[in-house]
């Protein structure tokens, strides 16, 4: 029995969503543990190592702990906004995830030994890619969703009716819209060279340059844009050295001061998912996606996943590394860096790439 094409598409889409969501949630919970362990080693501590081998079950213990904690809502809080804020934060972070490609397209194997209800024949030899939605303006979509992601933080800061929350919310909205500009500008050169907004096109455009060597990747060809992207993205996800929205020495915990229990976990989850999104985006836009970067080394199928996953893991490690190394910016330094350094550099780089595309490439 063959299912109709629509049913086939729906089944594949549903499985993709399940796989990507499951993988993201798994990576999120692992990241909370890895981050604490790595940071601890950088500071000559041990970190959480009691729960399970090397403490790997710590995220589960944390989850159980948060689940049984009391949910507190301040009496003066705006009830609906207070409840909506974590939902907005998590919702926007998961929306952005939908248009990213996770690894190369691959062909499903012919697993004839599996029962047909589990692995039907129409799956054999079918080419799929771990990407929920392939849309033409993929990059712009991510940017739009990132722009909406600010509201989760703003709403949380305002709704709690607490001065630390409010200042944290104000700081993060100012920080996010300042750095969104340079984030958007850093994409422009990439888009111009690839001639497309679609992330898959951008990945394949990098593979053809420099005879397939990694020097053709955007991270090397467009080094200034890559630097601007990385700085702006770090600020956008509010990681150290740009974690002023929750600067705990001054603001207790910033915009999520009043959140407890699972709502706190949701906000935390949104932050980690955003961080993963940023790393995946950097891999696809600047680090050649799933391409090996060495001519002759194939990047299809499983090997592509290995390269792609390795690059994402490296970037996630760099985020932790930065947190272990750099002190926090002062607020005026943050604004100065965003408006007077990053934006002019990004704009000048657009001029360079635009003249290259206009006068040499075509």
């Amino acid at each position: 029995m063959t299912a109709s094409p629509l049913v086939q598409e729906l089944v594949i889409a549903a499985v993709k969503v399940a796989v990507i969501m499951g993988a993201l949630l798994g990576v999120f919970s692992l990241m909370t543990w890895i981050e604490r362990r790595v940071l601890a080693f950088m500071q000559f501590r041990l970190g959480p190592n009691r729960t399970g081998p090397f403490g790997i079950l710590q995220p589960i213990a944390d989850g159980i702990k948060l689940f049984f904690k009391e949910e507190v809502m301040p009496a003066a809080a705006n009830k609906w906004a207070f409840l909506a804020a974590p939902v907005v934060a998590v919702g926007t972070s998961f929306l952005a995830v939908a248009v990213l490609p996770y690894g190369p397209p691959f062909t499903l194997p012919r697993l004839a030994f599996l029962p047909t209800w589990l692995w039907p024949e129409w799956l054999w030899g079918r080419s799929v890619q771990l990407q929920i939605a392939t849309i033409d303006v993929g990059l712009l979509f991510i940017f739009a969703i990132a722009a909406l992601g600010v509201y989760g933080v703003v709403l949380a800061g305002w709704a709690a009716n607490n001065k630390y929350s409010l200042i944290g919310g104000l700081r993060s909205s100012a920080q996010m819209f300042s750095y969104e500009l340079s984030l958007g500008l850093s994409f422009v050169g990439v888009i111009m060279l690839a001639g497309s907004f679609q992330i898959n096109d951008i990945v394949s455009s990098q593979a053809g340059r420099a005879a397939g060597w990694f020097l053709g990747w955007n991270a090397f060809v467009q080094f200034p844009a890559f630097l601007v992207y990385f700085a702006a993205a770090t600020a956008e996800v509010a990681r150290t050295p740009f974690d002023l929205p929750e600067g705990e020495t001054e603001l207790v915990a910033g915009f999520h001061t009043e959140y407890s229990s699972m709502r706190f976990a949701l906000i935390q989850m949104a932050e980690y998912i955003n961080m993963i999104t940023v790393a995946v985006l950097a891999t696809n836009l600047f680090l050649g996606g799933w391409h090996s970067g060495v001519p002759g080394v194939p990047s299809e199928g499983l090997l592509g996943f290995v390269f792609w996953g390795g690059k994402v893991a490296l970037l996630l490690f760099v985020f932790i590394w930065l947190r272990g190394t750099l002190p926090r910016f002062r607020y005026d330094q943050l604004m100065h860096f965003g408006w007077k350094v990053l934006i002019p550099v990004a704009a000048a780089w657009i001029l360079v790439i635009a003249s290259f595309v206009t006068f040499w490439a075509r």
Binding site: D136, V150, F177
Partner: protein, 163 residues
């Protein structure tokens, strides 16, 4: 499917637009406006222009509304305490009546209009850029950007008295 989406987005846009003008708390109004802008973006997407849809969210729902909210929160604007006086109520009633009349007229026009086939419509990113940077519109486009720049410089000059 498209029609269902269109009516859902249109209804959401109208309801949230009513929230914008009906709420006493300016923060609620701002959030209503954000929802309105996002539903308009859905309609742009349905019209076949994902580029404009994305720009709508990035520029209006994202950048501009964050600034609005930022100012509202910074000044900590409380909701309006006083109910409008008698004169305000009369004016409001007249305004509502006028709007109702307008809606009724628009409805009548819509009911009478023969739904013809939609004209062929290409709003892809490339097509839009070609139109925008064609000799016909290029000068208007550049003039607009100079106007915006002038407004920016003017705003800074007004806000910062001593340089």
């Amino acid at each position: 499917m498209d029609q269902v989406l269109f009516y859902a987005a249109a209804a959401l846009a109208l309801v949230s637009a009513l929230v914008v003008i009906g709420q006493k708390n300016p923060i609620y109004s701002a959030f209503g406006l954000i929802v309105t802008l996002c539903s308009l973006s859905v309609i742009f997407g349905l019209l076949g222009s994902p580029f404009i849809a994305a720009l709508q969210v990035i520029v209006y729902a994202g950048a501009i509304m964050v600034l609005f909210l930022f100012v509202l929160m910074l000044l900590n604007v409380r909701s309006e305490q006083d109910a409008p006086g008698r004169g305000g109520r009369t004016l409001g009633a007249i305004a509502v009546a006028l709007v109702a009349l307008l809606v009724a007229q628009a409805g009548a026009v819509l009911v009478r209009a023969e739904p013809g086939p939609a004209p062929a419509f290409d709003a892809s990113t490339q097509r839009m850029a070609e139109i925008l940077f064609s000799p016909q519109f290029l000068y208007v486009f550049e003039a607009t950007s100079i106007l915006i720049l002038a407004a920016l410089v003017g705003a800074i000059a007004l806000a910062k008295k001593d340089f």
